[in-house]
């Protein structure tokens, strides 16, 4: 899922100081899965914002809503009734949803309530780990199911670097496994270490955001 996390409260307070009627809108898909922007989190942030702004001497009215998915126009349309009643929207969706709302309601100030950070899996309750970097040139079949782009701090194609800690963790974060250590262990378990001896050529990054803002068209699906 796409994961996000709340922006720091002081930042949100600063943003909302100039507003009176605010809508906090969540999304019941990715951001709900990562406990950042689902209904629960919307209903938690709303009273918190009221209280935080009160501490700054500001009284704001907060309305709440949670859409099934903020990246679908049909769902975003549901906000049409409440939009005229507010002067600002704080969206807890990922950047895609926030922009969909902003595009549909260009007359309103639409603010991100979260920072969208990664494509991740929920490893266990309360722990999300980045898994995919959307590089557009997937090599998972050659790295035994471990992504070296998203899970290696240096995105090495021919890792590991010299920074693997004694316990197999990554030099830059002791809580993160060195993915090339994991790739090697998996290759060893499968008896395929020699596959790792091939020098992998430089990646073609142009199929990802590095090649420019992505635009995908499927003629067979167009109306």
């Amino acid at each position: 899922m796409i994961i996000a996390e709340w922006k720091p409260l002081p930042e949100l307070v600063e943003i909302l100081k100039g507003h009176t009627n605010v809508l906090v809108v969540g999304c019941a898909t990715c951001v709900a899965e990562c406990a950042a922007g689902g209904e629960r989190e919307v209903e938690t942030l709303a009273p918190l914002l009221q209280m935080a702004l009160k501490q700054e001497g500001r009284t704001i009215n907060v309305r709440t809503s949670t859409l099934e998915r903020q990246c679908e126009w049909e769902f975003v349309e549901e906000l049409a009734k409440v939009a005229p009643q507010v002067d600002a929207i704080v969206s807890l969706a990922c950047g895609i949803g926030i922009q969909a709302v902003a595009e549909r309601f260009p007359e309103l100030a639409v603010y991100p309530g979260v920072n969208t950070t990664a494509l991740a899996i929920r490893q266990e309750p309360g722990t999300w780990l980045a898994r995919c970097a959307a590089c557009g040139d997937c090599v998972l079949g050659e790295t035994f199911g471990f992504c070296p782009v998203a899970r290696c701090a240096k995105s090495l194609s021919n890792g590991p670097c010299g920074g693997t800690r004694k316990n197999g963790k990554c030099e830059i974060d002791e809580n993160i496994d060195c993915v090339w250590y994991q790739i090697y262990e998996r290759a060893k378990a499968r008896g395929k270490v020699e596959q790792l001896l091939k020098v992998r050529k430089p990646k073609n990054w142009s199929n990802s955001g590095h090649g420019g803002p992505k635009r995908v068209v499927r003629e067979d699906l167009r109306p």
Binding site: A153, K154, G162, G163, T164, V193, L197, K201
Partner: protein
């Protein structure tokens, strides 16, 4: 067949035990800071590494520092990491470096900007890193530019750029069994010489070199063992605990801690490590580093019996 004809290359080809030292460029633009080090170190080594924003701390560029050293009579080994530049900038800098007289280049992945500066410096942990290519791909790029006169794209350059190509080996970092195989990859990609991460456990290192020798690697590339001059027991403890790939035997830390003059003891330990290294079959030299204290190197090198450097 000579690849680039550098002093380092000639020394190795002549079968001499090679010595390289590291020069850290200044955190400022003053060429005097480099020239001073060049004067202190002139004539003591076969090659002088100039680091490339090591630990992601901004320093004078490796190419600039290397040119200053060259002008001062110290043949540089320029270092190039993959952290800050994409393949376009790397290849462009290689063309420029060659034009400015550089002929040795060490290829590294580079320290991640988050693992970088500790202590007093803020560093640039918020910067966007590049890592367009990795160190092994960079080695291939240098090889292509040297042996085929082409860029990574296949486009030709107006003439080849002969470089003596270097790579780094960290034999004691996990997964240890794979480290020799990755060394093989680097040599396969085109590495001519190897400088290792700092070694304090000579025994374990010797085992790793033997594994490399068994695979024929010590004949295909010249391995130089990295040795850092220890300043104190605390420094040894710090490195053992915090620098991946650096293993310091307990006995060595104890010896340092018990010493009356830890600095002197450090010099002595360094000399002993160098001498032990000379006895490792297949090992072709030493890469000596004295972090932020290059001025101590000449004395140590003399005490280790490595002066004068052989005529090549």
């Amino acid at each position: 067949m000579m690849k680039a004809g550098t002093r380092l290359e000639k020394t190795l080809r002549a079968g001499q035990f090679a010595l390289t030292v590291e020069v850290g460029p200044p955190r400022g633009p003053n060429p005097e800071d480099v020239l001073r080090k060049a004067q202190q170190l002139k004539g003591v080594a076969d090659g002088y590494n100039v680091t490339d924003n090591q630990t992601a701390v901004v320093r004078m560029s490796s190419i600039a520092g290397a040119r200053l050293l060259l002008d001062a009579g110290c043949e540089p080994i320029m270092q190039m990491t993959c952290r800050d530049r994409n393949r376009i900038a790397l290849q462009s800098d290689l063309l420029g470096a060659w034009a400015l007289g550089m002929r040795n280049c060490l290829c590294l992945s580079g320290d991640h900007q988050k693992a970088g500066a500790s202590g007093k410096l803020k560093g640039h942990p918020g910067s966007k890193n590049v890592f367009d290519v990795d160190s092994i791909q960079l080695i291939s790029i240098l090889k292509g530019m040297r042996d085929e006169g082409v860029l990574e794209s296949g486009d030709p350059i107006s003439q080849p750029t002969p470089f003596f190509i270097g790579a780094v080996w960290t034999p004691l970092a996990p997964p240890e069994e794979f480290r020799v195989l990755r060394l093989a990859k680097k040599i396969e990609a085109g590495a001519d010489f190897i400088q290792t991460q700092a070694v304090f456990d000579i025994k374990r290192f010797a085992t790793a070199v033997k594994a490399a020798a068994d695979r024929g690697l010590t004949d295909r590339a010249a391995i130089l063992v990295g040795i850092i001059v220890p300043k104190s027991a605390r420094m040894l403890e710090y490195m053992n605990a915090n620098v991946p790939g650096v293993e310091v035997p307990e006995a060595l830390i104890k010896r340092m801690a018990a010493a009356k003059d830890q600095r002197q003891e450090g010099y002595q330990i360094t000399v002993e490590l160098i001498q032990a290294a000379r006895n490792i079959p297949g090992l072709k030299g030493v890469h000596l580093q004295a972090i932020e204290s290059e001025e101590v190197l000449p004395e140590i090198i003399r005490a280790a019996g490595l002066l004068p450097r052989p005529q090549v």
